[in-house]
């Protein structure tokens, strides 16, 4: 059977093999780690789903291949490794390796059957078959939601015809960028074909081909090094251009006095130290995360995101935190911030940051969320503005804590610990006054922090 490049998330199109745990000729058992892949969002170890012998490795370390590409071949108990494409998908097939391969493959499309085979793995964690055309043989296989050309309805509510979905996949057209000309804005085949013929919308193409060479031409006389775009860099570029162009940003700044916050942090960390083995060490950022969660709870209208034709307002507050890594950044999301203690948040944040730096975040750890925090205070940055990370409706840019003179009792200047923050808001969801209320609430929460920890 073929081992295929897995689908790691809705928008992930390709993966890069970074490591092989097995070599050709190795006997593998279902569950054994086969190889490691890296995508523009994450890296992941991919296990075998069936027992057998690794007979062929098609993609060596460093190779990049689209989702669904054949990565390797495992043959069941020495049988020649040319079994039917797609049987790799069979979670239920894992225990039926000795049965008729055709039957097994035919069963695979129905996904895990509760009465047989191991527990169905969650989507994205296993080898999912190809969304690219040709890889699915309609004689043996059927398409399931997990192995599709993408959803029939985009997050904004736009519908897409089956043929249009397939053509978009084949032509590499980003459906999110299209306007449907069918009934009720449905995207039809003609829209995809029109988009495919206009080069600018091609996947990953950030700058039209002609202007690329124009830019290079400008620097002809200058010495430069060409840095090829990593998957992550392309994704960051595409998403942020998109965010800055489509989200109507506005910015609100405030200075927050954090003497009480620093004192609270010191007391809490000292208390942990006194226990001998400290169970936690809170950072200022952990408390800001908690504070933003509390503020969003108090201003529920801002605890919402734009969803194309409607606004989604949430009960809980999930907050993303930008984590800088070597060649880019990740924004893992801490869920339900308001109901977690600062120490809990601190622990989770350390865990997520470590995973992000190791590029081992799971899709479930970086998707969703309502707002985010970007903190450049440790670099001494006093104040800055951040670009909203879609689908969030706001982002808080946090500057350094500084001792600044302020007016004290009797008009005398005193020094206080001050921190400047800037809240970027999506005007489609958050109007000026609402954003100002959220920021004012955040200031109040952080200046009188004891309320948020009890």
């Amino acid at each position: 059977m073929n081992v295929l490049m897995p689908q790691l998330g809705e928008t992930v199109a390709e993966g890069k093999i970074t490591k092989w745990f097995k070599s050709v000729g190795d006997v593998v058992q279902a569950g054994d780690l086969l190889f490691e892949i890296e995508t523009d969002k994450t890296s992941m170890e991919v296990p075998a789903v069936e027992d057998g012998t690794l007979t062929d490795i098609h993609l060596q370390v460093g190779a990049v291949a689209p989702v669904g590409a054949v990565v390797a071949m495992i043959s069941a108990n020495g049988v020649s490794g040319t079994a039917t494409a797609g049987s790799a998908a069979s979670p239920s097939g894992a225990k039926t390796a000795n049965k008729d391969p055709n039957l097994e493959a035919a069963l695979s499309g129905y996904g895990a059957m509760p009465t047989e085979g191991p527990q169905a793995p969650s989507r994205g964690s296993l080898v999912a078959p190809s969304p690219t055309q040709g890889a699915l043989d309609p004689f043996f296989e059927v398409r399931t939601p997990a192995r599709n050309y993408g959803p029939a309805r985009l997050s904004g509510g736009t519908l897409i015809t089956p043929l249009a979905r397939r053509l978009a996949d084949e032509k590499g057209v980003d459906l999110g960028a299209l306007t449907g000309s069918g009934g009720r804005g449905r995207i039809v085949a003609a829209d995809v074909m029109a988009a495919a013929s206009s080069a600018a919308v091609h996947r990953g193409q950030l700058v039209p081909a002609e202007s690329k060479s124009n830019i290079v031409a400008l620097y002809q006389d200058v010495e430069f090094e060409e840095v090829p775009l990593s998957g992550m860099r392309s994704t960051i570029a595409r998403r942020l251009v998109d965010a800055k162009q489509t989200i109507p940003h506005f910015y609100l700044s405030a200075d927050i006095r954090v003497d009480a916050l620093l004192e609270l942090r010191k007391q809490a960390n000292d208390a942990a130290l006194r226990t001998g083995e400290p169970a936690y060490k809170l950072s200022v950022n952990d408390l800001i995360i908690k504070g933003l969660g509390a503020a969003l709870q108090r201003v529920p209208a801002a605890n919402a995101v734009w969803a194309g034709d409607r606004i989604l307002r949430f009960k809980r507050s999930d907050i993303g935190v930008a984590v800088s890594v070597d060649d880019g950044l990740f924004t893992p999301v801490i869920r339900d911030v308001d109901r977690k203690s600062p120490s809990h948040i601190s622990f989770e944040m350390k865990e997520l940051a470590a995973r992000a730096r190791a590029k081992k975040l799971l899709p479930a750890q970086y998707t969703g969320g309502v707002s985010a925090i970007s903190n450049l205070g440790m670099y001494g940055t006093r104040q800055f503005t951040a670009i909203i990370n879609p689908p969030h409706s706001s982002i808080l840019a946090v500057g350094a804590v500084e001792r600044r003179p302020t007016e004290g009792p009797h008009g005398r200047p005193v020094f206080a610990s001050m921190m400047s923050v800037t809240l970027s808001c999506d005007h489609r969801v958050i109007d000026g006054a609402l954003g100002a209320r959220l920021l004012e609430t955040l200031r109040a929460v952080l200046e009188d922090p004891i309320a948020m920890v009890v």
């Binding site: 040709g134 004689f139 059927v142 015809t161 089956p162 043929l163 249009a164 053509l167 000309s181 085949a189």
Partner: protein, 474 residues
């Protein structure tokens, strides 16, 4: 009421014209329709509907004469030809009255007479030969912001084959003959030719069909046409294809026809009671003043864009007069798209690949999209599915299990490129594929659609399954 001003005036009240008028009225446009002969046009009066009435009589007669096959007895089954014709006319009259009612209901003004375009915004209506119905507006000058020509088509006339209404018929005489001829020569094997061939053969007439092309039903998929041909020949219809009628010798009450093999080989002479000329139709573009306004006409049809617009501002054309395929349902939809565009809406232009075609002979033929050959010619890498009605339980139970469903898919995208059916009630089945094509379903959605059992429609799904080697009941 001369001098009245309308938003939209439609010339011709056939299926294209009257549907266009209703849609225009629905959109709030002040609408009038001009007719000179029959409300409902050819379709209701001399085409689609009365022929279906004739074919229904023939079908029931066929069952009566084959009652034994069903364990029934109907000895001495016979018919009174005049009564069959009378029923057909009654059906036509009822439909024609229906159009009158619908126009009134939608407050569409009916103007009676012959129309000539004076300018792009003015129409002169003259007295016509047929008396005006009650409440219709009379001759005079009418103003219109938008003029939609829906004047239809008429039988094409080939030199030597000129119809004379007595011995050499067009479909009009074939539908309303004085007596049943003993023998009939049908020239042309398109939908009109084969429907009448089928009708007269079932009524016991000796029928010969001559087709100039090697294939009968030339617009249909070759494989389907071959299946149909076998059936026709089994019923006793004599088919001479790849041949031409070169001479008609008209006697008192018979015609002797000379038929020449296309390759210049054999010549045969047949003598028949009547000849039906069914060599196609041509658009009614004359006498409307189009030449004077400079409207572009090519091959007997007014040239339009996908929304019925001609090259003259304010003048539109839909239906047969705007070119093939000359089908009532194509005319209707063109009209709807045309007035919606006039109203400033944004309809999709008509996609000619998605117009189903139906021939109501025995066996019935229905198709949509590309034939196998056309798909190959356009460079599609295709998968073809076939399913015979012999494998369909309902067809066997009906005692009508001849024919097949053929589907053609693009291999790469799974797009349904075409569907071609011959057999029982296929004209009532083709819409399933029309919907599928319009919604851009691929083979996967079709394979996952549940068709009811036991129905003829199951053959549609089986054909799709067969395209992928997954056929179940054959």
């Amino acid at each position: 009421m001369s001098g009245m001003v309308f938003d939209v005036v439609i010339i011709g009240s056939g299926p294209g014209g009257y549907v266009t008028a209703i849609r225009a009225a629905q959109l709030g446009l002040k609408t009038a329709i001009i007719e000179r002969e029959f409300l409902g046009g050819i379709c209701s009066n001399w085409g689609c509907i009365p022929t279906k009435a004739l074919l229904r009589s023939a079908e029931i007669y066929h069952y009566l004469t084959h009652a034994k096959d069903f364990g029934l007895s109907a000895d001495n089954a016979s018919f009174e030809f005049g009564a069959v014709i009378k029923r057909s006319r009654a059906v036509a009259n009822r439909m024609n009255g229906g159009v009158d009612f619908l126009l009134k209901k939608n407050k569409v003004s009916v103007i009676w007479g012959d129309a000539v375009l004076e300018t792009a915004g003015e129409i002169i209506v003259k007295q016509s030969k047929t008396p005006a119905p009650k409440d219709a507006l009379g001759p005079g000058s009418y103003q219109a912001k938008h003029i939609i020509l829906a004047t239809g088509a008429r039988p094409r006339i080939l030199p030597g084959l000129e119809p004379d209404k007595k011995l050499v018929w067009t479909y009009v005489e074939a539908m309303n003959p004085d007596t049943l001829p003993k023998s009939l020569l049908v020239v042309g094997s398109g939908a009109i030719g084969m429907e009448f061939a089928s009708f007269y053969r079932t009524m016991g007439v000796a029928v010969t069909v001559v087709e100039v092309l090697p294939q009968i039903l030339p617009v249909e998929d070759a494989e389907i046409a071959a299946v149909a041909r076998k059936q026709f020949e089994k019923q006793g219809i004599k088919i001479i294809s790849g041949a031409k009628v070169t001479k008609l010798d008209r006697k008192d009450n018979s015609v002797t026809a000379t038929i020449e093999d296309g390759k210049g080989g054999g010549v045969q002479v047949v003598t028949v009671d009547r000849v039906l000329s069914a060599v196609g139709v041509t658009g009614n573009v004359e006498g409307l003043g189009l030449e004077r306004l400079g409207a572009k006409i090519e091959r007997g049809a007014i040239v339009t864009d996908g929304f019925g617009k001609t090259n003259v501002r304010g003048i539109y054309a839909i239906g047969d007069v705007a070119g093939p395929p000359m089908l009532a349902h194509k005319a209707e939809h063109e009209g709807v798209v045309c007035v919606e565009a006039i109203k400033g809406q944004h309809p999709h232009p008509i996609d000619k690949r998605m117009i189903p075609g139906c021939t109501y002979c025995f066996p019935q033929i229905a198709s949509i999209g590309l034939t196998e050959q056309a798909a190959k010619e356009r460079g599609h890498d295709i998968r073809v599915g076939r399913f015979p009605f012999a494998g369909n339980g309902k067809a066997v139970a009906l005692g009508d299990d001849q024919g097949m469903v053929k589907t053609i898919f693009d291999k790469a995208t799974g797009q349904l490129l075409g569907a071609h059916l011959v057999g029982p009630e296929v004209t009532e089945l083709i819409h399933g594929f029309a919907v599928a094509m319009k919604l851009e379903t691929t083979e996967e959605e079709l394979m996952h659609t549940i068709f009811p059992h036991p129905t003829l429609s199951e053959a549609l799904k089986e054909s799709v399954l067969d395209a992928y080697g997954r056929v179940l009941n054959f």
